[in-house]
Amino acid sequence: MSSALTPSLLPDRFARWFAARGWSPRPHQLQLVEHAARGASVLLVAPTGGGKTLAGFLPSLIELSTLPLRRSRVLHTLYISPLKALAVDVARNLEMPVAEMALDVKIETRTGDTPAGRRQRQRYSPPDTLLTTPEQLALLLSHSDAPRMFGHLRAVVLDELHAIHNSKRGDLLALALARLAKLAPGHRSVGLSATVADPKPLQRYLVPQSGEEALSELVRAKGGAAPQISILASEEYVPWAGHLARHAMADVMAAIKKAKTTLVFVNTRRQAELTFQDLWRINDDNLAIALHHGSLAPEQRRKVEAAMAAGRLKAVVCTSTLDLGIDWGAVDNVVCIGAPKGAARLVQRIGRANHRLDEPSEAMLVPANRFEVLECEAAREAVIAGELDGDRLKTGSLDVLAQHVLGMACAANFFEDDLYAEVISAAPYRDLGREDFSRVVDFVATGGYALKRYDRYAKLRKTPEGQWRLAHPRLAQNYRLNAGTIVEDPMIDIRLQSKGRPIGAGGRVLGQMEEYFIEQLAPGDTFVFAGEVLAFQGIHEDAAFVVRTNDTEAEVPSYNGGKFPLSTFLAQRVREIVSQPDRWGLLPDPVQEWLRIQEWRSIVPQPGQLLVEMFPRGKRFYLVCYPFEGRLAHQTLGMLVTRRLERLRLQPTGFSANEYALAVWGRRDLSGVNLPALFDEDMLGDDLDAWLAESNLYKRTFKNCAVIAGLIERRSPLKEKTGRQVTFSTDLIYDVLREHEPDHILLRATYQDAATGLLDVARLGDMLKRVRGRIVSRKLDRVSPLAVPALLEISKEMVAGEAAEEALRETEESLIADAMRME
């Protein structure tokens, strides 16, 4: 259809431009022009390299080209990207067609780095096209002049929508879109997305909801050539546990040598640091191999990105920081170390190589242990079959809504009913009850406590007409300092100084690390960061000072972030492979042997079953089960199961969880336990509740919600408050609130978060439902092959709540033992 449509859809100037570049417009690009001509909103689903960005802007450029030259400029198209760097890059790329077609189109970006003067000017004299981020949009909408700035808006382009729609940032953006729909009724939206399993939630996201489900139009770009995925697995040796794949580094190096430019993806920053070190240890040719992860200083990351763009690098070891973003034409090889965790993530990563649709991308998966071999195989089959994992859809977060309500009050007085109607037109909030909305407004106004203590300090007050108004302009200033949904652990700068200089005497910033990690270091301790082994010197003011060392091994930073749970979809496929011996032939010999012996000694579970094995080992009795639901859900399950065993007086002493299995142990034989009762769904009631009261993960979730909702300010204009100087403890606030007002809206927001996030309660619930009546158990005289990886897992947990007391007790014992030693 493309050539037939071209003349009517593309103005001459555009058709000539395409021709001059030797291109012909892609069908999906023309389809977007067609939808735009009708004023329809549309979602474009296209693989990387499909000319997605140009497709998104083409209709806007055509519309702008028809406007008279002498005109007072108004904002015509707003582009939102999850990444600041991407917005800047897209702006640069757009300049080319605009210049070559001599279009009178003014394009500008607006990010945190934009100078204050230009930001000010953009509000009263906007460009035709503004490229920015969700946070900046929220800030713009909180100004009273937002109606003027956005009143003439014709189009909104949302890039990488798949990566953002189902997150708190996505909630913030959805609420902003709802406001834009009110300020500029009738404008159209364009969503740009990578291939997703189910486009419906994204189509819904793009258009205002009103009772009945409304969907945008959908355009699917034709897929490119199928990727070629190989799995690196040795026929001799496959490790039992671990995530580093150190055994495979020589093969990874060989792959790097063979290709022009390689991206080496890993799942955590810790893995990135170690893999980088391991590669350099065998980098005899001194190939240009760089490191890229979220904790490195921005300048350092930018340097790597620039070197990459200029083709000066042979390889980059990176985390999900490079999952999205700027196109690098030169990348022709992708290596994924460790399990892919999800088919969609794998597709995204593979797509980073070879941004041309007609040639297949190549990728090599490097599983680090036996279960990961299964996972890689499952992911490969899924990608080839074109099947992807869908995310569990979250509902709009209440803490984000609270932030938005305050922002809207900064912009103008509002009637509660009006704002409610606007909010529920945003897809994530379409099921929000009127009552809950009122409670959120009440929370913003005075804290929302049953004990009405803060009325005289209210942030929002009712006008005689019944509108809510901001109580004081100073509050708008506070809002703008604290807006945003990304809450980081308190971070501390790492500064490199020369040896022998006193601590604090200057030094280049290498990056940032979590404060809790730095606090546990003693002067002289070494750790790997930014690809080097560094020795900690001390903390001075708000930076940690380090010097270089000649050591090759070091205590390694253990970061919190960056671990993804195994997707439900992939878990299902792994369960299938395990249960079907006729498919094992594809697997490397050691893995086949492992599964065969498992089948002979115990059983291999069928997909719907939950296998539970019980056996003694050493002085302990073990109970190991295999839900395949990811580490987070298993950890929660471990907490709850040990609680129950404790109540049965079976004295569990600890457990360990990995992505596939949970192992629980104790001093007493666990083989007599009533398994259906132990794994009954009702554990998600009181047991869960009791555990949440003391869970550190949960308290951290609460802190994030409290910051986003504005209960705790990140920054105030009076004093720059960093994480280090927070003068009250959120843990204590949590304890008090939980005791005195367990139904408070913030506690509900916390639960909502944890259920789908850190604790994966929802997933655990699904699993318990699935296995009801399908638990198969085996009493064994010794450990089974399948159980070994779980027992080897390094991070072990003590039974719920006891871990901290145990740590204190042991510290005391060792202190006293040390003191009493008679030597």
Partner: protein, 248 residues
């Protein structure tokens, strides 16, 4: 004495460190509490941070439980009992009634702090700039000079304990056997790391640190055993062992 109790000697006096952060002085039937910071929560309301307004009643409840269990004749609050000058006016009727009941039931000494130079007029008990009893001197702000027998608050000491892959931050007591620092008792109070010079400089000798656990207090740093009375009584170290540990 219960094996789980943490009893130390400070300037010759036997003191029991409570996991709640209080100190119990059995010989004098005296309960010591530091930095209650009543109405700290509501003090943030003016700046628009609406912390749960339940911190005062949470603190009062914990004090009430301690008093019911230990039956003290005297309670000493080591200053900063009220978070700011207006805090007394922000207590509600019920909280005032509870507090007044407590101050009527025992001999209550309010040591003045830097946050509460003027406690509310309705407050029962005695208000003192400092308070002395036997070998101990109770003060809010510790003297910068080493000071034998001083029991003080103000600093809000906390300690970080790293073990078993956990990194815990706990309120703590700190003592070198001559003076004692108490953790803050108030519900929302943060803390100050004992490794900071502001804390270490207070002590003439190496300080011992006792962290608050859920059920008891744990000795976690420094020559704690030299101060401990009850632990391992059967295996008292010889004098030589103690002196080796004490040598800096």
């Amino acid at each position: 004495m219960n094996r789980n109790e943490c009893v130390i000697i400070v300037n010759g006096e036997t003191l029991l460190l409570e996991p709640s952060g209080a100190v119990w002085w059995p010989d004098e039937k005296t309960l010591v509490l530091a930095d209650l910071h009543f109405e700290k929560g509501s003090s943030y309301a003016r700046s628009g941070q609406f912390l749960p307004p339940y911190d005062t009643r949470a603190t009062l409840k914990r004090i009430g439980a301690l008093i019911a269990r230990l039956r003290p004749e005297r309670v000493i609050a080591l200053g900063d009992s009220f978070h700011d000058g207006g805090a007394g006016d922000r207590l509600d009727g019920e909280e005032i009634a509870v507090l007044s009941g407590l101050t009527r039931a025992v001999h209550w000494v309010w040591v003045e702090g830097n946050h509460d130079p003027e406690p509310p007029a309705w407050l029962g008990g005695t208000i003192r700039p400092f308070y002395q009893a036997r070998g101990l001197m109770f003060r809010h702000i510790p003297c910068t000079e080493p000071c034998a027998g001083e029991v003080a608050g103000h600093v809000h000491p906390v300690v970080r304990v790293n073990r078993n892959g956990l990194s815990l931050r706990r309120r703590c007591f700190a003592s070198d056997g001559l003076r004692l620092l108490l953790p803050a008792f108030g519900a929302y109070t943060g803390g100050f790391d004992v490794r900071e010079e502001a804390v270490t400089s207070l002590f003439a000798r190496e300080m011992a640190v006792f962290a608050m656990g859920r059920e008891r207090v744990y000795a976690v740093r420094g020559p704690c055993h030299t101060l401990l009375r009850n632990r391992n009584m059967d295996a008292q170290p010889s004098a030589t062992a103690i002196s080796t540990v004490n040598t800096p």
